[in-house]
Amino acid sequence: MADIRLMKGNEALAEAAIRAGCQAYFGYPITPQSEVLEYLANEGRKRGMIVLQAESEVASINMVYGAAGAGARVMTSSSSPGISLMMEGISYIACAELPCLLVNVNRGGPGLGTIQPSQGDYFQAVKGGGHGDYRLIVLAPSSVQEMADFVYDAFDLADKYRNPVMILADGALGQMMEKVAFREYDPKDHMMVKPWATTGKPSTRPPNVITTLHMLPEQMEEVNRRLQAKYAGIQQQEVRYELLDAEDAEYLVVAYGLAARIAHRGIQLARARGHKVGLLRPITLFPYPEKVLKSMAKRLQGILVVEMNAGQMVEDVRLAVEGRAPVQFYGRMGGIIPSPDEVTEALEKMITTTVTHPVEAD
């Protein structure tokens, strides 16, 4: 019997974290994600979780470092400006290869910006954000259900690869209420032994050291090679995406998160007017589903990328497509959510302006 509830996205995520066996949460309030901290401060503590409201996001992320280094399943959450403050710590965590969950309930920026939903942090989440060559595994939910589901996946991926995993949501997904069914998940079946953790050194082994300092450039390059090999493996193994109405599609919309849900409605409106349009929804933003895009591109008349930003993921679409199909962009910024009608309009504009080219055979 599924455990079904009506919850805010932030609360569903927090509830899933408890169920996923998350042992500790360190965070700082910021709209629109404070419900995560509030929910855990109440429910989490009751159910044995260590929940600490830190003095800043800077302290929070470094507490995540310490707790992950001590072997705990640990997380933090914040929203855009707070995530910016965490960037140094995230770079350290990536370098030290500490598994943890980071949640960004993205709001409009830049600067203090707005508290309304945005996807303006795509570059920061996917391309680095902090210093040095590192990657987060980035999961993009598009419903309250996925706000919960991806928490389990994130912790498992983090442990599997010893890598920080980010759930990149937005203010609407955090605040809106939907039905959510909590899956069966026994943390005991998922917890990994962490022989590298600093838990106190028995006489039988040398000290464990969690460090990001490698003074010799040759050593530092070796660390980088190891990280890059890991990221390449993640790109091979962990790509996730959803295709909707794509079988006969002549045009494709690429959108993630909330924008994908809006775009799908816009696609349905366009189909009602006779346009053969499909949707590709990347679920992992890193690793990016570039192979499927590349393979689909040659039979497409055009691709429309829809984002709640000035055009960030569209760069990854263009890189994947490599000119095989025209790529256009439609986006709203600063906390404005596009409507399905706007997507349909942008689609029709693309369809009327794109010069039809003969479709290559597969």
Binding site: V58, N62, P207, N208
Partner: protein, 261 residues
């Protein structure tokens, strides 16, 4: 093989001579990168001696800072984490919360603890985290080449106060230990030094007490060590220790600022 060499070095076989002092096993057999006369190596040794004598090597986790002691994990034979600049006490907070039955310490310099990490320092102490914070105050940024620290004395020349620190430009030296001592969360706040054998013995007592208080879950223990920087101060080690007594102690007097009730 390495173990054998280590054993040999720990217990040198010198015929007819009695071993009266040896490196504690908890201090790893590595050559210090510290400059001659620097207080860090002495504090490292004393801290590791205390951990060994209390037989808590297997139950201790340390946190190293950014600064001259960034390599502390290469010398201290306990599980260690290297923190980002200024964040050692936040890292130590989390380690202790996860592993409450372990002994946890952070080891930080004046730039790390009293400039970039001031917020973490104050809030860790204010929460009364049950950890030991070892604070090395030598009034200068050693690692980056001798720039002004928050604890640099007025009139003191550094590479960023070439004519001496002035109130107008650099403000006052920060007496963060006095600040910390005001916070109800702290159990034990003391200021020590390592410029004489007797001072070293006093520091050892302070560190021993701190671990005892941690065992008793008394709250934060904060041990400042007024130390030197012969290279940064551009003095010989002997000159530096004399300068320390004459110039540092008037502003940073040794002694207990707070003891457990």
């Amino acid at each position: 093989m390495a173990q054998e060499i280590m054993e040999e070095m720990i217990t040198p076989d010198v015929e007819g001579m009695e071993c009266v002092y040896q490196r504690p096993e908890t201090l790893l057999d590595a050559r210090f990168h510290y400059c001659p006369g620097c207080g860090h190596s002495v504090v490292h040794r004393v801290l590791m001696e205390v951990i060994q004598e209390l037989a808590i090597t297997e139950k201790t986790v340390g946190v190293a800072p950014v600064g001259c002691s960034v390599f502390a994990d290469r010398y201290m034979g306990v599980d260690m984490q290297g923190a980002a600049h200024g964040r050692a006490s936040a890292v130590a907070t989390a380690v202790k919360r996860i592993l409450p039955d372990r002994y946890v310490f952070s080891y930080q310099g004046d730039g790390d603890l009293a400039a970039i990490g001031t917020a973490e320092t104050i809030h860790t102490c204010n929460r009364g985290e049950n950890i030991l914070i070892v604070f090395i105050n030598n009034a200068i940024y050693g690692m980056t080449g001798g720039q002004m620290a928050p604890t640099t004395l007025l009139g003191m020349k550094t590479s960023t106060t070439p004519t001496g620190r002035t109130l107008e430009i650099g403000g006052h030296p920060l007496k963060i230990t006095e600040l910390v001592a005001q916070l109800p969360g702290v159990a034990y706040v003391t200021r020590q030094s390592v410029h004489t054998p007797n001072a070293v013995r006093q520091l050892k007592k302070a560190l021993t007490k701190s671990f005892q208080y941690q065992k008793e879950v008394r709250g934060t223990c904060f041990v400042e060590v007024v130390s030197n920087c012969p290279s940064g101060w551009k003095m010989t080690p002997l000159q530096a220790n004399a300068w320390l007594v004459e110039n540092m102690f008037p502003l940073y007097p040794p002694g207990d600022l707070r003891t457990p009730q």
